[in-house]
């Protein structure tokens, strides 16, 4: 039983990171109908910038994380001006956008490899500090991850529900044309969406880097697929869906290795479990938990 609880805790940690990332992906999709395939590499970007501050520049984790998040947000804004806006102006279809984001993913990852090198890096955290809660042991990194993720989720929820900016985003997500007619500043809202998405990507990247102890520029792509799985599971474009999907997937991945499930799945196959969960869910409910049945 203690095994089970430990796995559950690990799953919640992973899941909360997926949830934050999934939120960022869903937000951009909801507003711009763009599936951002470069999101994983943006997470890696954030993680590496944070490492740059934390390692060579000896900044604290908090400062480094904020720097990473800010840098990723700026990156997203720049990309919107340089790439997404021209594509929107040319009325690019869904496929063009998808392809462009894949090209972007390639560019980002190779750029990171070029700039930071392929060797794994790690943050300066104490790997031996452990928090014990009953039979569950969590490392310092894990505790930070889950606490930060939890706080972020609450903040984002409040932001979307209570602030004018947040409500603007929701209006645009629901019906872009209507929102524009209603006087919503579409440009501003788009920028805001990218900023929030970038902040979330940077944060998710830093937290993932923390929890995994060491990471290299390729780890973004490895995270991308479970994140996408979480997004699809929850229903793309839905904030609640992203959260639910992320947590569900993280927990499912970890719990699948529990020995109580007929010996449990080989831990190296955890990503496969994520996809299996996704495939099964889509069979039952093709639009995801909170998704809409047809592409708008």
């Amino acid at each position: 039983m203690s095994d089970f609880l430990q796995l559950l805790a690990n799953g919640l940690v992973e899941g909360s990171i997926y949830a934050i990332a999934a939120l960022g992906v869903s937000l951009v999709y909801a507003l711009l109908r763009l599936v951002n395939f470069a999101y994983g590499d943006m997470m890696a970007f954030g993680a590496l910038i944070a490492y740059g501050c934390n390692g060579p520049l000896h900044q604290s984790m908090v400062v480094s994380a904020l720097a990473g998040m800010a840098a990723t947000a700026v990156l997203c804004l720049v990309l919107d001006v340089v790439l997404w806006k021209p594509l929107r102006a040319r009325r690019a279809g869904f496929m063009s956008l998808f392809l462009a984001s894949i090209a972007l993913s390639l560019l980002l990852r190779q750029g990171l490899l070029l700039g930071a090198g392929p060797q794994p890096e790690a943050y300066h955290v104490n790997p031996y500090r452990v928090f014990v809660l009953g039979s569950v042991r969590l490392s310092e990194a894990q505790v930070i991850a889950i606490a930060t993720a939890g706080a972020t989720i609450v903040l984002v929820a409040l932001f979307l529900a209570r602030t004018t900016a947040g409500q603007t985003l929701r209006a645009m997500a629901d019906d872009r044309t209507l929102a524009a007619i209603a006087g919503v500043d579409v440009t501003r809202a788009t920028q805001l969406a990218w900023i929030v998405s970038g902040l979330l990507a940077g944060l998710a990247g830093v937290l993932a880097g923390l929890v995994e102890y060491s990471f290299d520029p390729n780890f973004g792509f490895e995270l991308l697929l479970p994140v996408f799985a979480a997004v699809v599971l929850g229903g793309i474009g839905s904030a609640y869906g992203a959260l639910a999907g992320g947590l569900a997937l993280g927990v499912a991945e970890e719990l699948s290795t529990w020995s109580g499930f007929a010996g449990g799945v080989n831990p190296t196959y955890k990503p496969v479990v994520a996809f299996a969960v996704l495939a099964l869910a889509l069979l039952v409910r093709p639009q995801g938990f909170f998704g809409r049945a047809r592409v708008a």
Binding site: V35, L83, P86, L87, R90, A92, G93, F94, M95, S96, F98, L99, A100, I102, A103, L104, L106, L107, Q110, G111, L113, L114, F221, L225, F228, A229, V232, I236, N266, T268, Y269, P271, V272, F275, L278, A279, L282, L283, P286, Q287, G288, R294, V295
Partner: protein, 321 residues
């Protein structure tokens, strides 16, 4: 710099272009003609190659039996992917195909006993031996080489691959002009309207997926024979991405645009090796590898933004999309 003018080098580039032509042709059928957003094409390449290698090394089959079975396995792979997923909305379908290709790579990496694991095909045989699946093919290739009177094996492979590629291109060109091909295109245009005309959209999509997968399987076979060794990492998503790039370069929905796109792509890819001048000389060779891919990524972005119809496509068709 001497390699720039080496016939052997360009023959090799030609072989790779030929392999990619077949891979991208499969994708053209799936997406260019039927509208299926398949981002996992490389998985079928892997299935074709591994099936053949495993049957030859572990079961002692003749290459000429193992190869068709590899193609069939790839087609079946297409069906396995398609059956649960082809009815999903396009963005979900795309994501599922990527997941599928990663799962295949995963299984290939972890199931050591079956595939040799991350060490690749060398580990397919008994422990301590270096397995070879290539022997029968190599002797065949040598015979062809002698018959052709060539001095280089790369040139021979070039001829073989392109003979097959051209045959497949011709077959495909024929197929898409049939009423069957017409139905595929109607599904690409508007699948609900196609259904309202009585077409079984699900079945046609599966057919397109399976046929495209079979072509990828053939590409996998040639890949395996050209390099005589492969490992799971050879079949990474980047290759699918290159296939997409080829489609973009040549133009969607046109069969003979594929070899042109592959040729241009091969040229860019190989050509970026020769960045032996400043500012590229500032970078070490490792870093130049990254730089090459960056250049490729930039080319694709430029294409998507400025010429989405490809080099041969008609602007009018893009506008109508």
């Amino acid at each position: 710099m001497s390699t720039l003018f080496s016939g052997d080098f360009w023959a090799f580039v030609g072989v790779v272009a030929g392999i990619y032509t077949i891979l991208a042709l499969g994708l053209q059928i799936q997406f260019g003609f039927t509208g299926l957003l398949n981002f996992g094409q490389v998985a079928f390449m892997a299935i074709g190659a591994y099936t053949m290698a495993i049957l030859v090394v572990k079961e002692g089959w003749s290459t000429w039996l193992a190869a068709p079975l590899g193609i069939a396995a790839a087609a079946v792979g297409g069906l396995v992917l398609g059956l649960p997923s082809v009815r999903l909305r396009s963005d979900y379908f795309a994501i599922v195909t990527i997941a599928f290709s990663e799962i295949i790579r995963y299984v290939a990496t972890n199931e050591d006993a079956l595939t040799g694991g991350s060490q690749g095909t060398i580990a397919l045989g008994k422990v301590g031996t270096a397995a070879q699946y290539n022997t029968q093919w190599s002797s065949f290739q040598s015979r062809v080489q002698g018959w052709l009177g060539f001095s280089s094996s790369d040139a021979t492979m070039l001829v073989i691959v392109w003979l097959v590629a051209v045959a497949l291109l011709a077959l495909t060109a024929l197929a898409v002009r049939t009423p069957w091909g017409r139905v595929l295109k109607s599904i690409r245009e508007d699948e609900d309207a196609a259904a309202s005309l009585g077409k079984n959209v699900f079945s046609y999509k599966l057919q397109a997926l399976a046929i495209g997968a079979a072509l990828a399987g053939i590409a996998g076979l040639f890949y395996a024979w050209e390099f005589s060794f492969f490992s799971p990492d050879d079949f990474e998503p980047l290759l699918t991405f290159f296939a997409w790039m080829i489609l973009l370069l040549g133009g969607l929905g046109r069969v003979w645009a594929v070899p042109i796109g592959a040729g241009v792509f091969g040229f860019i890819f190989a050509g970026t090796r020769f960045l032996d001048f400043a500012p590229f000389t500032w970078f070490g060779s490792d870093q130049r590898a990254y730089l090459r891919l960056i250049i490729i990524g930039l080319v694709i972005l430029a294409l998507v933004v400025f010429r989405p119809q490809g080099l041969l496509g008609r602007k009018q068709e893009m506008v109508l999309e």
